[in-house]
């Protein structure tokens, strides 16, 4: 069972539809006791880092997620804002975020049209179970004005160019995340979701 975290600013339905299409058992959850029992968690996201953090706090999900992901090591996948909030701080609204991984979130340079909207190439830097069966560079669908800058370079699994080279995929122990919308990235995105569903969350 995959538990997809639902909060008002998220896009849980799209993720749920994608998982159902793959024949995977999934449901949306929004209560701390549900998170405490989860065995596989997806944190989707659209909107802003500040609004996401406010929603997670309002639903009392911050501590529950931390316990289940950092202490109990269940496989975790963050999507879009769900990647950005893993780090310590976001320039967007100048807000503190979850801080599970060292690093910050910055805005794209003003030389680019912002938000970045569209299909851009993701290049995997190293092998990872989430990348099974994918080409070296896969085009995925992005919608973002901000991007993560991990303090620890080994947390970067995939990179993409948009005025700067930025971290578009993150992997650290049982935590993985995509800046792009895997659930809206066609067959390649669905492959990543399928890979996540069979990943044991072991560090690699």
């Amino acid at each position: 069972m995959i538990d997809v975290i639902d909060y008002r600013a998220g896009n849980a339905p799209s993720v749920l539809y994608a998982l159902e299409h793959l024949g995977l058992s999934a449901r949306v959850v929004s209560k701390p006791e549900e998170v405490a029992a989860a065995t596989r968690i997806v944190l989707p996201g659209v909107g802003s880092a500040g609004a996401t953090m406010a929603s997670l706090e309002e639903l009392s999900l911050v501590d529950a997620l931390r316990a289940r992901v950092l202490d109990d090591h269940v496989p975790f996948l963050g999507i879009c804002i769900g990647l950005q909030v893993l780090f310590e701080h976001s320039e967007e609204g100048d807000v503190p975020t979850l801080g599970w991984l060292p690093g910050t979130v910055r805005r794209f340079p003003s030389t680019q049209r912002v938000p970045q909207i569209g299909w851009n190439g993701v290049r995997a830097r190293r092998p990872h179970p989430l990348w099974n069966g994918l080409p070296e560079t896969a085009h995925c669908y992005f919608v973002n004005s901000y991007y993560a800058v991990p303090a620890d370079d080994t947390d970067t699994l995939g990179v993409t160019e948009y005025g700067v080279e930025f971290t578009s995929m993150v992997a650290h122990d049982n935590i993985a995340a995509t800046q792009f919308h895997a659930e809206k990235s066609g067959r390649l995105g669905l492959t990543i979701l399928r890979n996540f569903a069979s990943w044991d969350g072991a560090p690699c």
Partner: protein, 274 residues
Amino acid sequence: MLTKRVVACFDVIAGRVTKAQQFQDNIDVAPAAELAQRLYADQIDEIVFYDITASAERRRIDLDTVRDVARHVFVPFTVGGGIRSIDDMYDVLKAGAEKISVDSMAVRDPDIIRQGAEAFGRQCIVLSTQVKHVGITDAIPSGYEVFIDGARRATGLDAIEWVRRGEELGAGEICVNSIDRDGTHSGYDLDVTAAVADAVNVPVIASGGAGTVEHIADGLSAGGASAAIISSILYSPRLERNLGVREIKDGLVARGVPVRPWIDDRDVAAAARP
């Protein structure tokens, strides 16, 4: 490198895609969910769905059809028509859409752009605008005026001033629909598209008039657009021949336009199976 998007547009009446010419004479094409699935399988980059009679009939958007499309289409999906409030937007997002397109309603109440961007993020809000060439006057310095209600009502707003204001209020994308070119298959209005692309820093979508691959390439290069909306070329019974997405993309690549590469079965063949 960020690629240019080819976006299929559906004008939907009662769950079925229809095709109009200059906002009139709609003819029936296919059920929306069926056509969406076919185009998804054909690797379209994005789908936009307008519930075109919701606004005029003063009714809520057709959420069942939105849901039907969203369940089977795993590329981005924008919904517009009949959006009057933040609650309407939330309903559409909950039904599985990624983005909300606002048009006539945003002219009547521009604050809905700000409210939507605040609640769901600016990437969620597409400002779609119907523009018509009226000639340069003091009131319309760009020569293009904004129209609403299916191109039936002039607003007195200058197109360039309006899209700038929309960006300031929080629109994450601007879609420029040329009333003059709509359904004519004679190409996008490149002048107004390029003027809008120069005026704002968010992505711009060209719409209205694409009849050939050349037109799409022009919109994405000379027009300065990040995405091109097409409909007739894909499925209009009025055209002698429709083109598939792959044919269109091959044509764009041949003209130097970067697009999302075609995915062959072998590209994902080795993927883990449950």
